[in-house]
């Protein structure tokens, strides 16, 4: 109580979040005191945060700060890394995703991921988008067809590729490939999309297209994006989390982080004084 009295800014935030949760049900992603080790190395040192549905949350921080590791916890992509171990709880849609009986394949249908480098399969454009459906055992051609078309339309690729659906996905330009990868993710109909520096390998024009796309996708999906581009974070995200050396230094509305950060470290990083 005393603290809130002394620090009116913090009180605002607390009230704000109370109002938000009452309006928007439960958090989409919730982590409690997460710690991650790779062998002896403590990559994440106790992070708790909750991410609201239909928002874009940006993870920023210098290389090696653990933001990608943290992102990859949400669809359990770290499971394959040697020596990985985890402590703490991560709930998605209210369910602990690291419980023993969780079906990882089902989780990944709910939580899609887009990678740093566009990585289309060496298959046709159509097969790239249809892949996620085919591995689910869906045989209904009409359904697959519809889903491929609507996914390609959502990412704004349909007009560009509608006559070359049989062409290899690798024949597209880098920016188109990345949008193809997003379409591939959308086709599975996830509710969360994780993006690990999705534009770092792209030119400014392709980047702008992806950013606009992210803005639109927010209507239907919850998006978490790792980025090294400070302007990008401030342009597209609603919330920003600043990580440093495996700790969550500050997590707040993007507006607050970029105009009025609470911590000195955050301010130094976003103004380019270190990082």
């Amino acid at each position: 109580m005393e603290i809130t009295m002394e620090n009116p800014k913090k009180k605002d935030v607390v009230l704000d979040s109370i109002v938000d949760t009452s309006l928007k049900k439960t958090p989409k992603i919730e982590t409690k005191n997460i710690k991650v080790w790779y062998e002896e190395f403590n990559a994440i040192k106790g992070i708790s945060m909750s991410i609201k549905p239909n928002t874009v949350t940006a993870f920023i921080g210098p290389s090696g700060c653990g933001k990608s590791t943290f992102l990859r916890l949400f669809n359990r992509m770290n499971d394959y890394v040697d020596g990985f171990s985890l402590e703490g709880k991560i709930k998605i849609n209210g369910q602990n995703i690291y419980k023993k009986n969780v079906n990882v394949e089902e989780l990944r249908k709910e939580v899609g991921m887009v990678f740093q480098k566009p990585n289309p399969f060496p298959k046709s454009i159509f097969d790239n988008v249809a892949y996620g459906l085919k591995i689910q055992g869906i045989k209904d051609k009409q359904l697959i067809n519809d889903r491929v078309i609507s996914s390609l339309k959502q990412v704004g690729l349909w007009e560009e590729v509608k006559d070359d659906l049989k062409k290899s996905g690798l024949a597209l330009s880098g920016g188109q490939q990345q949008r193809l990868c997003i379409a591939r993710t959308l086709a599975v109909e996830p509710s969360i999309i994780l993006m690990d520096e999705p534009t770092s390998a792209l030119d400014p024009i392709s980047t702008a297209k992806i950013e606009e796309l992210i803005f639109q996708l927010k209507q239907k999906y919850t998006i978490v994006i790792v980025t090294h581009n400070m302007q990008q974070a401030s342009r597209i995200s609603d919330y920003t989390a600043f990580f440093y050396l495996g700790e969550l230094i500050e997590f707040n509305k993007t507006k607050n982080i970029f105009t009025n950060p609470e911590k000195k470290q955050t301010e130094n990083y976003i103004t380019g004084r270190f990082g």
Binding site: D82, E105, R108, G112, P122, Y131, G132, T185
Partner: protein, 284 residues
């Protein structure tokens, strides 16, 4: 002579040394093939391929040995291909970085270096005697399968290793299971490399002599094998047998058989190169 000139001279000298070394192998091989062709090409006709072996050189043919080799090749493929590829997939995708995998890996590398006659002795003991298969095509194929398994496993692993991690990540992230990722992404992407390795291993198997002699392949078989349990001979053994005879006619037969055996090997290697190129193109 200043430094730059000296370096340039060294550069030239090494280039010519390299050309010379490359030529040694090629020239010797050309001389050998030329010599064989001169000796044997006139002997090759349809009769030579379809005739059974005979005491008289001019009536002898390679039919039984050729059919024996084809039987051996087919059965060895059926046995070694699925076993070797599955072992390679297991070692590369499932058994990563534990002690057992390390032990297996060292042993497989060592197996690749074991002399082929040792495999023959193993085959004699296990397949011919313990499993009581006799000196049959099946026993011979099992023995040769053991011989080429390490090569198949190693080349499968190399081919799988070449598949980019980003492709596997993408597949997993879309909710694919490990097996789906292997079946839909890893195998199609590494198929060319795996096939190349298997074919090269088989073209080695088709030329093997020692282990088959130990297993009990015969130099003289009156009939071509009709089933996996039949006795058999193979091309290299037939060649070896003819060369050890004094009559000039058999030497000519041996040369002709060598040409055919070389032809088979070249064709198999050609197929391997074709597959490799075809798959590489798919990635571009």
């Amino acid at each position: 002579m200043n430094n730059i000139q000296k370096n340039r001279w060294k550069d030239q000298a090494f280039k010519f040394w390299g050309i010379f070394c490359t030529m040694i192998g090629l020239v010797l091989l050309t001389i050998f093939i030329g010599d064989i062709l001169i000796d044997g090409i006139r002997r090759i006709d349809w009769d030579f391929i379809t005739d059974l072996p005979s005491r008289k050189a001019e009536n002898s043919g390679i039919y039984t040995a050729l059919m024996g080799s084809i039987w051996i090749l087919a059965l060895t493929t059926i046995i070694a291909f699925p076993v070797g590829v599955a072992a390679g997939i297991y070692l590369e995708e499932y058994a990563k970085n534990n002690k057992l995998a390390g032990l297996l890996e060292i042993n497989i590398s060592n197996l690749a270096g074991v002399p082929s006659i040792i495999y023959g002795l193993l085959g004699l003991e296990v397949f011919v005697r313990i499993m009581n298969l006799g000196a049959s095509v099946l026993a011979g194929s099992l023995t040769l399968s053991l011989l080429i398994l390490p090569i198949v496993i190693v080349s499968t692993r190399e081919a799988i290793k070449a598949v980019p991690q980003s492709i596997k990540d993408a597949s997993f992230a879309l909710g694919a299971s490990k097996w789906q990722t292997i079946w839909h992404q890893i195998l199609p992407a590494s198929g060319g490399g795996i096939l190349t390795g298997v074919i090269l291993a088989l073209s080695r198997a088709v030329g093997e002599t020692a282990p088959l002699i130990v297993v009990g392949a015969l130099a003289y078989v009156p009939f071509a094998p009709q089933s996996p349990m039949d006795e058999f001979s193979v091309m290299p053994i037939q060649i070896f047998n003819w060369i050890s005879r004094p009559q000039a006619g058999f030497i000519e037969n041996a040369a002709a058989a060598i040409i055919i055996l070389l032809g088979i090997t070249f064709i198999m290697n050609g197929i391997a190169v074709y597959f490799r190129n075809k798959w590489q193109k798919k990635w571009k």
